[in-house]
Symmetry: C2
Subunit: 153 residues, 2 copies
DNA sequence: TTTTATCTTGAGTAAAATACTCGGTTTTAA
DNA sequence: TTAAAACCGAGTATTTTACTCAAGATAAAA
């Protein structure tokens, strides 16, 4: 029940861009450094994010990446779907092309995965990048107190 | 964001045992047939379920498996954890041994995964095998109407 | 115009995880 | 005694993950 590092790194990168939203393009290199992601790996992720229209890129010197729209209009769900494909704990409840077992009689368990999927998507779709920036701002002001508390896990 | 087939098959198998709860031990072979799981693969899964104390086994002729306790006291979360390990969409929010990134400053994204994890565990822990049996019973009585509706996905 | 910073593309790959299979051993009810 | 089961350990093909690398395209700046 694990996300790959694509979603993990990807959300970090998008959050980084969100925090720099409104200024000049941000270079992949600087994102990679701040977020401690391999530069060449992040290249691939950014390519996916660009292809799905979540970021815009500018080539050449002074180039870089910016969010394709306001942080408030990009959700964590958008990012995860761009990098990991449709959300589905198991094949038969895939968001896009669900496949069914042969024997419907024995598919009661499917309702479990359906509920799990809807739980996940509900949460991911309810969080946008502006929320995260706001939270970061709060953490910065309270001297990270709040964040430390979260780290009890 | 996908479960492996272990959790998928495992829940099916446990549901099968739950439906036969109270009678004689059920052979692995018959579970495998009904649920269309490879017999030798299911062997491994049952071994894991036995080691975590969710099922009891009886060897020899007329042997088989039974649930180790009432269906109402076994949750989907128990089954998934037994087969896939602690639930964690990303490493740093692992239920058991969370690892943190080096830079707490950039860990706002962690709160997302934390919420996702709690969403998943909340759902999985709230569903027990007796619930599923009840649902199956309902489906059987209403001629599967309800189940078909769910399959719109 | 040349240089340099940057994105872009495609190919390649090592390691891990997945989803199994198989053959043999042990146990136990009939 | 026999046959039906669980048990065990090893092996393996395939897929996925998590990268790396090198060459090319583009555009701003010198
Ligand atoms: S449709 Fe997937 S469990 Fe049956
Ligand atoms: S602790 Fe995992 S994203 Fe920072």
């Amino acid at each position: 029940m694990r996300l790959s590092t694509r979603g993990y790194y990807g959300l970090k990168a998008m959050f980084d861009l969100a925090q720099n939203y409104g200024s000049h393009p941000i270079t992949l290199k600087s994102v990679a450094e701040r977020q401690r992601i391999s530069e060449s790996y992040l290249e691939q992720l950014m390519a996916m994010l660009r292809k799905t229209g979540l970021v815009k890129s500018f080539r050449g010197a002074q180039g870089g990446y910016i969010l394709a729209r306001e942080p408030a209009r990009i959700t964590a769900g958008d990012v995860v779907r761009a990098l990991e494909g449709p959300i589905a704990p198991v094949y038969c409840v895939n968001e896009e092309e669900p496949r069914e077992c042969d024997e419907v009689d024995y598919c009661i368990t499917r309702t479990v995965w359906l509920r799990v999927r809807d739980g996940i998507t509900g949460i991911l779709d309810s969080i946008n990048l502006a929320d995260l920036c706001l939270e970061a701002e709060k953490v910065r002001q309270t001297g990270r107190g709040e964040h430390i508390k979260l780290n009890k896990y």
